[in-house]
Every structure is written in structure tokens, then in C-alpha cells.
């Protein structure tokens, strides 16, 4: 794969982050282009159609479907309260009268002369969309949402669980390789986004949940601990819908993993600042990695940041990370990219890269197993 390389996770001190905020269905946009917004500000609102309850009226009344309209007390579009009669029969003997009541409060959506069903739709549900990051509205999608832009630090994790959150960024523990104990977490960390060392255990997570920490950022986690905190074995990496607090962002992978130096240093340098984080991950069909965004008002004012990152690929000198055993997590630089196929231990013939590590040692690694470190 001469033209193949694995794009790395983005760790950028000065980035321009654009977040598209779209409603699931058409609604109303509440802000104008150019408006300054805070992460928790509501930028758009919509009314989601309510749930539908079905009532098989013909079965209940013992009539033919074609006769249904004659027995209806309500018409399409009429509002109904819960337990309000919507249809009844008219027997000769009143004692045998059957009344069909609406199971929910809502509106009569349809009355079918073919199936004999009446559909009642409950009241619409309000959906509100927050800005998610502190920034500026740079585009308005009529009736659909907005684009919010901010300049600041941007860090991608490899895997996360849970949705969007906000809070002050705090670093706990001593360095990127630290392994915390539950006792290292204290009540003062409630609602904070906490950088929590190289290995997150389920004991640490439980303690964080008790305190009410908003998000935990760690280098690695054992799959067995993830299973314990989720309550099930995660089959496919599509996450973000979990209703958990704290959300979880893993920067390196599964197992004990020192947080990459660049990631740690950047997060440490922004400690005390307000951050937005999202654990949502989707590795298939449109990759989505978890993220931490720390907008910087100064950077925005100065117009700093790189909007688009150049996709350069691998070349001699490119900083890389090994992303599979042996040497998972080691950092180095491309020494050379041999053209031909090379036979590796498995006997497979693959394209390789010669990687020189920080200690001066060199290893031949399948190109598929190195990741470009991008900024």
C-alpha cells in the first residue's frame, strides 16, 4: 500500500473547530449568524412528533372495518384526553354498550376503514439543541441548525463512551503514566473533566460516578472493566448514546497505556479552562472519534488556528506511533519506506516502514501498524 497510511488522532494546540449542530427534524433556529454563544446556550429547537398509540376499534366493538366511521366519537385531527371515549357502539340494550377509550392524550391521527385501526398521536416532544462549544455562529441552516466555530485546543481520543458534556479541565495524578487510586478523586472534582492517568479501572470509575465527575480522560482501560461499567460486552464501536456520567474518553487503547506526551502536555497546559467533551465514537461508516475541545477566547480574537489539516501521508522523518503489538504505543519517526514487499514473522508479505525509536533502536513494522502523529 504505497499510498496507504493510517491517519492519526488529531492533537492540536491551535485549531479552528467547526461543529455542525443540526436538529433531527426541521424546527426553529434561535440564534443569528455572527452571534457569540456559550456551550450550554440553546441554538435551535424543534417539536418531535409524539409517539403513536394504536387502538383496534373494530375488534373491540365487534364491527366491520368499513363501518368504523359511523361508530367514531372523534374525527381525524381532534384532540383527545387519556381515557376519553373515542368510539362506542349503540346496542339496543344499553348494558351491552362498549366504549373504546383513548389509551393516551393526543390527537386522532387516522381512522382506517380497511384495517379498523385508530392511531392516536401523543403531544410533540420538544427537542433543544445546545451550542456544545463556546464560540461563534458562522452559518445558519434555515430551520435545521447552525455551524458553531471556535479556535483553541483540540484533542481526539481513540475510543469513548457517552455523549456531550462540559466542564473545567483538571489533571489528577503525576504524569501521563500515572495509575490512580479511587482515593485520588475528591468531591471538589464534581462536574469537572478529569485527566486520570494511564489506566482507568472500574473502581476509579465508580468513585468518579459517586462524586459526579463530568468526564474521565485516560490512556487505557481493560475491556473487562469497560464491560463492568457498561453492563454488557460492547460488540461494535458505535457509542455516544449511553446515558452515563462521567463520560469516558480513552486516548490510546485497551490495556494500560501511557497517555501520548503531546496529548498530555496540551491537556495539562489547559488545566483550569472550560472544555467541551464528547465520548461518541463510530469507527464504521464515517469515522467519529471522541474529542476534547478547549476554546480559547484569545486565540479566537487573534484569528489563530488551522482550519484544514494537510493530509501529507507518511514520509521519512514523519513522527509515528506503533498501533499494534509488538511495541504497541511506542513513538518514533519513519526512517525509510522500502518500496518492495517484505516478509514478516507471520510469513505475510507486506509493505513495511523502518521506524527509528527515541532510544535509537530501529524496527521494521507493517505500514498498516503505524499511525501518523498529526497536529
Amino acid at each position: 500500500m504505497g499510498h496507504a497510511y493510517t491517519p492519526g488522532l488529531r492533537v492540536s494546540e491551535h485549531a479552528v473547530v467547526r461543529k455542525e449542530r443540526r436538529l433531527p427534524i426541521a424546527g426553529k433556529v434561535l440564534v443569528e449568524c455572527g452571534a457569540a454563544v456559550k456551550a450550554r446556550d440553546i441554538v435551535a429547537r424543534a417539536e418531535l412528533p409524539g409517539d403513536v398509540a394504536t387502538v383496534n376499534v373494530v375488534n373491540r366493538l365487534g364491527i366491520a372495518a368499513a363501518e368504523l366511521p359511523r361508530f367514531m366519537l372523534k374525527s381525524v385531527g381532534d384532540p383527545v384526553a387519556s381515557a376519553e371515549p373515542i368510539a362506542e357502539n349503540r346496542p339496543w340494550i344499553k348494558r351491552f354498550r362498549t366504549v373504546v377509550k383513548s389509551p393516551v392524550a393526543g390527537t386522532i391521527e387516522s381512522v382506517s376503514r380497511i384495517t379498523g385501526q385508530v392511531l392516536v398521536r401523543t403531544a410533540p416532544r420538544r427537542v433543544e439543541l445546545a451550542a456544545y462549544i463556546d464560540g461563534e455562529v458562522v452559518e445558519v441552516f434555515e430551520n435545521e441548525g447552525v455551524m458553531v466555530q471556535a479556535a483553541g485546543a483540540f484533542v481526539q481520543g481513540i475510543f469513548g463512551v457517552g455523549g456531550e458534556t462540559h466542564g473545567e479541565l483538571v489533571v489528577v495524578g503525576n504524569g501521563p503514566a500515572a495509575v490512580l487510586n479511587p482515593g485520588d478523586l475528591h468531591q471538589g472534582l464534581a462536574d469537572k473533566i478529569v485527566v486520570a492517568g494511564s489506566l482507568l479501572t472500574s473502581a476509579i470509575y465508580k468513585r468518579a460516578a459517586e462524586i459526579g465527575i463530568a468526564a474521565l480522560i485516560c490512556g487505557g482501560i481493560h475491556d473487562s472493566d469497560l464491560r463492568e461499567l457498561l453492563g454488557y460486552d460492547l460488540g461494535v464501536a458505535i457509542t455516544g448514546h449511553e446515558k452515563i456520567k462521567p463520560i469516558l474518553i480513552v486516548t490510546e487503547g485497551f490495556g494500560p497505556m501511557t497517555i501520548a506526551k503531546a496529548t498530555y502536555q496540551l491537556l495539562e497546559s489547559r488545566a483550569g479552562q472550560a472544555a467541551s467533551a464528547n465520548g461518541a465514537t463510530q469507527i464504521r461508516a464515517g469515522v467519529l472519534r471522541p474529542e476534547i475541545i478547549i476554546p480559547s477566547p484569545l486565540a479566537a480574537a487573534r484569528g489563530e488556528g488551522k482550519a484544514e489539516r494537510a493530509v501529507l501521508g507518511l514520509r521519512p522523518g514523519s513522527p509515528v506511533r506503533i498501533i499494534r503489538e509488538p511495541g504497541f504505543g511506542r513513538l518514533g519517526a519513519i526512517k525509510s519506506l522500502p518500496e518492495g514487499l517484505v516478509r514478516i514473522e507471520t510469513e505475510a508479505k507486506v509493505r513495511v516502514a523502518e521506524v527509528e525509536f527515541q532510544d535509537g533502536s530501529v524496527a521494521v513494522v507493517p505500514r498498516a501498524n503505524v499511525e501518523a502523529i498529526e497536529s
Binding site: 499510498h3 409517539d51 384495517t115 385501526q117 460486552d233 460488540g235 487503547g253 489539516r309 514478516i344 498498516a368
Partner: protein, 595 residues
């Protein structure tokens, strides 16, 4: 250009993980596949444009072949000497493939037929709705709204049959008012292929809310399926709506000289061609990063299933979740720490393009592949069934057994050929590894030919066949299929250590004889192009395909691995005692790994 005048063809398959490009050239001896290149698929960020991966894979093809194919970002056509290609074609399963929901009235009848129609067209079926599926209406409506398929296939009722239930489903669909998965500017495509008497009522309910298309009933009478017209509609909508919404596909569609096909539809065509040309029963499997597809042709009946979350990269963790750790570990020929194994699998899931670098990791990945294949085959057998609900006249003897309509039509005793495809089978460092994985997962019985797709080019040939069938067939038989050799397996397990059968193998070099003990395997070399006459004599009570204790004679062709004699019996059981040693011994018997 006239399809028969094609001299140089470039074809790509945009898979969920990798975009594979091949070059096919017309040589004096016929069409041949000459070069192959690949690059990661770029449907995802930061590229979000499938054409980048296509260009990268074609650039690799250029490098390896010395032929100039690209002029910047343009594919040079037609060919002229050592420059350009006459046509560029492609298949695609990137971006999650084609995702559909289907519905019918009776789950085991019209809904199942609708499912077969969608699967045969190359779709992943997200859910099957039926009037009798026991889910309350509000749950069905919520499901339709939540799943957001690419399209919806609605069937139900034989012609002149029930209208009420069909209309009920249309009402649920209208109430859900579903949005398509990709894009915002159009309504969800819905194909109605049910009772013709209900068309008007369905039109009334869905005509304004969806992009409704009416086609022939896919189950006009209980005794017959008519899946062709519905499949045709699915392909058309796939191209017009679904493909056009995926990142970069609008551009890709202007490059191709023939419509882009869903990868499984192209592979399905090839499997049907093999079966049809040779008049044999075939099972094909394509194990990918996200999904595993199984295709079969038994007695001219074609079936395809897709196990949407059984794959070796994106879905590898789901194989662990579905198969369970113990089932994976039973194939690993060494002791492995459970925590480490779980972390390894999850790390592959989050970095799906990595490859095993060490022998231990290769063995673990191949153990997981066995389980993905096994589970996908179980699913296939449950859907590849005879039509249910059909009235049959039974003989007296039949009325004593339990068989009824709707039994699986997969009969391993009549299987002639098992073909494997997909990275883990096509690119296994040794072909004997592919053979062993397929035998362990599918457990063929009697005498069965085994083959693999040499470099994973069945999809490319499937789409090529749409414009030049002769070229596709020539490349298929010369370059695509690698015969591994036959597997000769006893059905009955026998008592460990005792002989299960003896064999006599007559070739032009002489006669070889041997004995296969219960629980063991033996590989006899028989080169590609050679044939051998086999005479098998089973021990008492042992069945090698002709009945208990009955001898079997067969003429078999060789392959790159040889003849595998398998005395382990069926169903295959890995002994718990000395598990590692046993699995290691089986691997050694076929020389699967370097010592």
C-alpha cells in the same frame, strides 16, 4: 467502445476497510488479471471522499504495472499502448453498504421472501417486520423511525389475498414518517412488492410521504417466489438515491463505465455462474472487516445471507460477544491470558486497518475467523430454507418423519465446492491455513472441493460480467480461483485412536494407502492439475458419505494444499483435555504454521 473490444480494464472494490484495485488485460491466451493495488477506503474523515481511496489504489496499480492510468485525478480512457484503460468499473460496500428494512404479513412466508429478495440484492437487512412478529404496533413504528434505513421493501399477501394486514403495515410506515439514513433532501424510497389488490390503498397512504415504487408481488402465490422485479428496483434505487448520497460517490459515478454494484450482489453473481456452469452445489463465503456474507446454490436455488456484525476488524469485538470467549479460545493452540485477549480484540476494533505482525496474533485472528465463519453459516442455514406454508403431498414414509416445509436446503453431503473469499482467507500467509479455517468452520462431510479467491477479486469480476461475461469467466477460472484440494471427511466421529477409514489413492504415479484414526487429520499431496481415484473403506458404523460402513469411490482433483483426510467426525468437537496440543497437532498435520 464495444464490450468485446476491451483490452485493458481497471476495476475497484470499495470495501469498508480497503479499496482493492485490479488490472485486467487481454493477452493472446485470453483475458488475465495482471496487477493488483490497494489503499485504505476513504469514506471516513479526514478524507470523506471515496474517490481518494480509489485514486490511491489506482496509483499503486500504476506503480506496480508501469502503465500510466491517471492524469492527475482523471482516469485516462481509452487505452493507448502502455497508457490508460478502456473502462473503469467498481463495486462498493463502503459506508456501511446498503441498509434496508423489510416487511411482510406472515413472518415465515412473505416477510421471509422479502428478506431473501433484499439479501440477494446485496443489502444488509436491519430488521424484518411482520404482522405476526408479536411486537406491538408502537414498537414497530418507533423501530422504523429510529433505524433510518436506506430503503424499505414492503411485501405481504399473495395476489388476491389479505389486504387488511398489508394496509396496516403501510399505516405504521406512514405514521413513522421515516427519514432515509443519508441525505436530507428526499423522501425514503419504499418498494411495494405485495398483493396487487392492495396497491391503491398503499399508494394512498404512502404516496405523498415516501418515494414509493410499485412492482410485481414477490410472493404471488404461496408456492412460488418472484424475487427478480423487487431486486431490480432495489438496484435502481441503490444507484439513484443511496450511492448518490455517500461521500464522493456522485463523483465516482461519473468515472465508471458501468453502474456501480453492491459488492455482495457482484459476488453472488459469480457464485451463481460457477454453480450454473459446472452444474454443482456451491457455498461461497466472503468474510470482511464489518460483515460476513454467505452465498449458496443448492439444486439451482440461490441464497445469500449477510451477518451484519460478524467481521474481522470493525465487528471483531462482536464475534467475541456472540461466540463467547471459550469458543474462540478452543481454536488457539497456546494458553492465552483472558484479559490480554480481550484487550487485543478491542484494540483491533478501534484500529481496524492493522494486521497481525506476530505468529501468535495471526493464530488468534484465525481463531476468531473460524467463529465468525461458523456463526455466519448457522445464520445462512436458517434462512436458506424451502418455501414455508406450501401444501405438500406426503408419502406414508414421509408422514412418519418430522420433516416439513421450511427445512434448510443446505445439505453438506451434497455440497461439491466451498469457496472462501475476504482478507483472512484470500491473504492467509499459507493456503493450508485457509483450508483449515474453512474445514473447521463449515465442517464439510464426504468429499468436497475447497477453493479460495486468490486475491479477492470476485466482486470485480461480478461487475465485469455485466459488460463482458466472457472476460469475467476467463479471469475467474484462470486467475481468481485457487483450488486448495478436496477435503475427505467422515461424518461419524469414531472412538479416539481407532481407525475411522482407510484410503487407497491411485494417481499416475502409483497407488498410496493409508489409515485415518479417529480425531486425526492427514494431508496427502496431490498437485494442482493432477487427479486421483480414491477408494475409501470406512470402519464398521462409520459414514464417509455413502452411508454407515459403506465404501465410497470418487475421482478428485488436486490443489495447492493437497487432499485433506479428516477423521475428526461431525459435529467437530475440540477436546477440552489437552486442547492446545490437539489444535497444534491438527495445524501440524496440514503444515499450517512455521515451526
Amino acid at each position: 467502445m464495444n464490450p468485446s473490444d476491451l483490452k485493458v480494464v481497471a476495476a475497484t472494490d470499495c470495501g469498508s476497510t480497503t479499496t482493492k484495485a485490479i488490472l485486467i488485460e487481454k493477452k493472446p491466451e485470453g483475458y488475465r488479471q495482471t496487477f493488483r493495488g490497494e489503499a485504505p477506503t476513504t469514506v471516513e474523515a479526514p478524507f470523506e471522499d471515496v474517490t481518494r481511496g480509489v485514486l490511491n489504489s489506482l496509483a499503486e496499480l500504476e506503480e506496480l504495472s508501469g502503465r500510466r492510468i491517471l492524469d492527475g485525478e482523471r482516469i485516462i480512457t481509452p487505452s493507448n499502448g502502455n497508457e490508460g484503460v478502456d473502462i473503469y468499473i467498481s463495486t462498493s460496500s463502503a459506508g456501511g453498504g446498503l441498509q434496508m428494512m423489510v416487511a411482510g404479513v406472515v413472518k415465515q412466508m412473505t416477510a421471509e421472501s422479502a428478506q431473501r429478495a433484499a439479501l440477494g440484492a446485496g443489502a444488509i437487512v436491519m430488521d424484518v417486520l411482520a404482522s405476526n412478529d408479536r411486537r406491538p404496533p408502537h414498537e414497530k413504528i418507533e423501530l422504523i423511525r429510529r433505524l433510518r434505513p436506506d430503503m424499505f421493501l414492503m411485501s405481504g399477501g399473495t395476489d388476491g389475498g389479505t389486504v387488511t394486514h398489508v394496509v396496516e403495515m403501510a399505516e405504521f410506515l406512514a405514521a413513522a414518517n421515516p427519514r432515509p439514513r443519508l441525505g436530507t433532501g428526499y423522501n425514503l424510497p419504499v418498494i411495494y412488492a405485495g398483493n396487487t389488490s392492495a396497491r391503491e390503498a398503499v399508494q394512498e397512504r404512502l404516496g405523498k410521504k415516501t418515494e414509493l415504487r410499485l412492482t410485481e408481488n414477490l410472493r404471488p402465490v404461496l408456492e412460488r417466489e418472484n424475487l427478480g422485479p423487487a431486486r431490480g428496483e432495489i438496484h435502481e434505487i441503490f444507484l439513484k438515491h443511496v450511492m448518490a448520497q455517500a461521500p464522493g460517490y456522485r463523483k465516482l459515478m461519473t468515472w465508471v463505465g458501468a453502474p456501480i454494484m453492491p459488492t455482495p450482489a457482484a459476488v453472488g453473481w459469480i457464485i451463481q455462474t460457477i454453480a450454473g456452469n459446472q452444474g454443482i452445489n456451491v457455498i461461497g463465503v466472503d468474510i470482511g472487516g464489518a460483515t460476513t456474507d454467505v452465498f449458496s446454490v443448492f439444486g439451482e436455488v440461490f441464497n445469500r445471507t449477510v451477518s451484519a456484525n460478524l467481521g474481522l476488524s470493525y465487528s471483531i469485538s462482536n464475534v467475541l460477544a456472540e461466540a463467547g470467549l471459550a469458543n474462540i479460545l478452543r481454536w488457539v493452540p497456546f494458553d492465552v491470558d483472558e484479559t490480554h485477549l480481550r484487550d487485543t480484540i478491542k484494540n483491533k476494533m478501534i484500529r481496524p486497518t492493522t494486521i497481525p505482525h506476530t505468529l501468535e496474533e495471526l493464530k488468534i485472528e484465525q481463531a476468531i475467523a473460524r467463529e465468525a465463519l461458523r456463526l455466519a453459516f448457522i445464520q445462512h442455514k436458517s434462512l436458506a430454507v424451502g418455501l414455508k406454508g406450501v401444501q405438500r403431498t406426503r408419502t406414508i414414509s414421509e408422514s412418519f418423519d418430522e420433516s416439513m416445509s421450511g427445512q434448510t436446503i443446505i445439505n453438506m453431503a451434497t455440497l461439491d465446492l466451498l469457496v472462501g473469499s475476504g482478507g483472512v482467507l484470500s491473504h492467509a500467509p499459507r493456503r493450508s491455513q485457509s483450508m483449515l479455517m474453512m474445514v473447521d468452520a463449515f465442517q464439510p462431510v464426504g468429499v468436497t472441493r475447497l477453493a479460495v479467491d486468490s486475491i479477492f477479486m470476485m466482486p470485480h469480476l461480478g461487475v465485469l460480467a455485466q459488460i463482458n461475461q466472457k472476460a469475467a469467466e476467463e479471469v475467474f477460472f484462470h486467475d481468481c480461483i485457487i483450488e486448495l484440494g478436496p477435503c475427505v471427511a467422515s461424518i461419524t466421529p469414531g472412538k479416539r485412536g481407532n481407525p475411522v477409514f482407510t484410503y487407497e489413492m491411485e494417481t499416475d504415479e502409483g497407488v498410496k494407502r493409508g489409515t485415518i484414526p479417529a480425531g486425526e487429520m492427514l494431508l496427502e499431496p496431490l498437485a494442482l492439475g493432477k487427479t486421483a481415484k480414491l477408494r475409501l473403506s470406512p470402519a464398521r458404523g462409520i459414514d464417509v458419505g455413502a452411508g454407515k460402513g459403506r465404501p465410497l469411490e470418487a475421482t478428485v482433483s488436486g490443489g495447492v494444499v493437497g487432499i485433506l483426510f479428516d477423521g475428526r467426525g461431525r459435529p467437530l468437537a475440540v477436546p477440552e483435555k489437552n486442547r492446545s496440543e490437539t489444535v497444534e497437532r491438527w495445524a501440524r498435520a496440514v503444515d499450517a504454521y512455521p515451526s
